[in-house]
Amino acid sequence: MTASPAPSEPPVIEFRQVGLTYPGPPPVEAFRPGDLVVRKGEFITVVGPSGSGKSTFLNIAGLLDTPTRGSFLLDGIDTGRLKDTERTTLRGRRIGFVFQAFHLLPHRSARENVELAMVYGGVPRRERPQRASEALARVGLGHRTDALPTRMSGGERQRVAIARALVARPSLLLCDEPTGNLDSGNAEAVLQLLETLNAEGITVVLITHDLAVAARGRRTITIRDGTLSESEQVGAC
């Protein structure tokens, strides 16, 4: 791992020959066995052509999918030894997700959408509005807490989703094409927000097929046909 910037920091993601084959038929080797360490405080971008296995990688790292080979350690916890319910709890407590499609509940206000991330984590009811407002203020939406997502711009929606990902205080932020649906202005605002959050200590993994976006990472990982490789030079997507 050439570009690991802070070897002293503890690893957040640790892949040990992790691979995933969808059973099919026909079986699809969506992620080929490989090693990877992402340390606390890193900002990593993942690039690769469509269908190369980027989302598969993110699903494994986010405990949404279980690898069929190797072992994946999150915050030093061997997730292969956990029960399904424990993996779910771990996911809710330690990982924040940001998706290209936002996945906001259309009939709930921005604040309620953010509060949803605290429902299953056992945050007391009375603390939630305050924490949600703080998270929204942090993404620059302090004035729009009661707005419905359907009345918001794409950039605003993605910032609500980021606030939702932040509010449970995860150790890892996984973003799958967060700027994919945004114009350049809004994309830039979201990227700057992610950079600020990273500077404050949160580990960020960002998937993109935009090379300009990928260049923002301090470290870039390329996936091709399900194989991980780490290099400055990225092929055309």
């Binding site: 989302s55 699903n59 986010g62 949404l64 999918d65 279980t66 030093g76 916890i77 061997d78 292969g80 030894r81 956990l82 029960k83 399904d84 319910t85 424990e86 779910t88 709890t89 771990l90 996911r91 809710g92 407590r93 990982i95 997700f97 998706f99 499609a101 996945h103 509940l105 009939h107 709930r108 949803l116 991330a117 429902v119 299953y120 984590g121 056992g122 009811r125 939702r164 449970a168």
Partner: protein, 420 residues
């Protein structure tokens, strides 16, 4: 899935992860939000449950209301009425009339008897002309086709008549075998009698009888309103004892009727109690069931059909919601919701739909009972158990309907649901 249940875990390398929660209040809030998201669809979905529970409440309420009206009539009249029939000739062809002359005294001595007296329809011995009832002594041969009934003074009292004019004949008239009569207002009108001031008489077989009372109505034995009533002693003197068809009417205190019915034949004829057959009032409970159970069952069946339709409606809507909201389910799972939390959420949504339908149905059913009672001038009666259970029937319908969709929801794979 790599679950290793039962395998001891290394405590030092696997720190405590904690637990995912879904507090009941959060569950309810999510269920309500899910239902209110699409108010029109929710309302339509509830319709079947509303109808089912409404029909259930209305049927039970209406039967309770209707049978309580029947009960009332039993309590004041039928339950306090006993008749004793003369069946002597069935037992012994030469027995003659079974009732003794002092029948009233013998029976009125029994506990709980208010009034008791015999009555029989007078039969002509030779020709019908003997008993032709006319308004004038001659001319109207053939007369009005009215029957003559011999009744003891106590019989009249037992029938609980309402007099419009005059009075009833009493023991004095009977002992003196006076030729007096009491007639109904209907007969009085047919015979052209409007007032008793002039001491009008009617003629039975040409013999004058003074009309001393006109009866508007009777509570028991309404058939006597179709007859001309004369004291039994007078009837015996003029036309002889009845050979058969004699009856006794007994009015009792509330609750005494069955015992009186058991004792009366022996009190009347200690030597031949089998000559008499006492008919106690019917058991109000059995009568009520026979009156209402058929219809009630039919309507309850209909209510059940409505509930099944309601359940199918809720199941369908919830299933559509699950399919529409796979993204939301995936998101919730990403945010730490367990499978059972997803199951609980959709069960709660369908249960809420059912419960609201049940509440609405209860209200509508109750309203229907009230309206019918108001129109019929009845006292509405609703068993508290019916009102208390009805909303829960709706709830149960919703929960049962939600089982399959909720299982579908919990088996959604988060990775697939979040793609795209």
């Amino acid at each position: 899935m790599l679950s290793r249940i039962g395998e001891p875990r290394d405590a030092s390398s696997q720190p405590d992860i904690g637990r995912s929660l879904f507090a009941p209040r959060d569950l309810l809030a999510e269920a309500l939000a899910g239902m209110l998201q699409r108010p029109a669809r929710s309302a339509l979905t509830m319709l079947g449950t509303v109808l089912g529970v409404g029909a259930f409440v209305a049927v039970l309420g209406l039967t309770a209301t209707a049978s309580s009206q029947i009960d009332d009539r039993f309590n004041v009249l039928s339950a306090t009425e006993v008749t004793v029939e003369d069946i002597a000739h069935e037992q012994d062809k030469f027995a003659g009339a079974a009732f003794p002359d002092d029948a009233t005294d013998r029976v009125e001595r029994l506990n709980g008897v208010r009034h008791a007296g015999v009555l029989w329809m007078v039969k002509p011995r030779r020709s019908a002309a003997e008993l032709a009832v006319t308004a004038a002594p001659v001319g109207h041969t053939g007369g009005e086709a009215l029957s003559v009934v011999a009744a003891a003074p106590a019989t009249l009292r037992a029938a609980e008549p309402r007099l419009s004019q005059g009075r009833l004949y009493d023991d004095f008239h009977a002992d003196a075998r006076q030729r007096v009569t009491v007639i109904s207002s209907g007969i009085a009108a047919r015979l052209g009698i409007t007032t008793l001031e002039t001491k009008p008489a009617i003629f039975i077989g040409g013999q004058p009888f003074t009309v001393i009372g006109i009866v508007e109505d009777v509570q028991r034995q309404p058939d006597v309103l179709l007859s001309v009533l004369v004291p039994q002693t007078t009837a015996v003197e003029m036309w002889g004892r009845p050979t058969e068809g004699g009856r006794m009417l007994i009015a009792t205190d509330l609750g005494a009727a069955r015992q009186v019915a058991g004792e009366a034949p022996t009190a009347l004829r200690p030597d031949h109690p089998e000559y008499l057959k006492a008919v106690p009032p019917p058991d109000p409970k059995s009568l009520r069931t026979s009156v209402t159970s058929d219809l009630e069952q039919l309507f309850l069946l209909l209510a059940g059909v409505c509930l099944v339709i309601g359940a199918v409606g809720i199941a369908n809507t919830t299933l559509v919601a699950v399919l529409e909201r796979t993204g939301e389910i995936g998101l919730r799972r990403a945010l730490g919701a367990q499978r059972r939390h997803v199951t609980a959420q959709f069960l709660a949504e369908s249960g809420t739909l059912g419960a609201f339908g049940g509440l609405l149905g209860t209200a509508i059913g109750t309203l229907a009972v009230l309206v019918v009672a108001l129109i019929r001038d009845w006292t509405p009666v609703m068993h508290p158990v019916t009102l208390a259970t009805a909303p829960f029937i709706g709830l149960a319908t919703g929960v049962v309907a939600g089982i399959y969709p909720a299982r579908r929801a919990s088996s959604v794979q988060p990775a697939e649901a979040l793609r795209g």
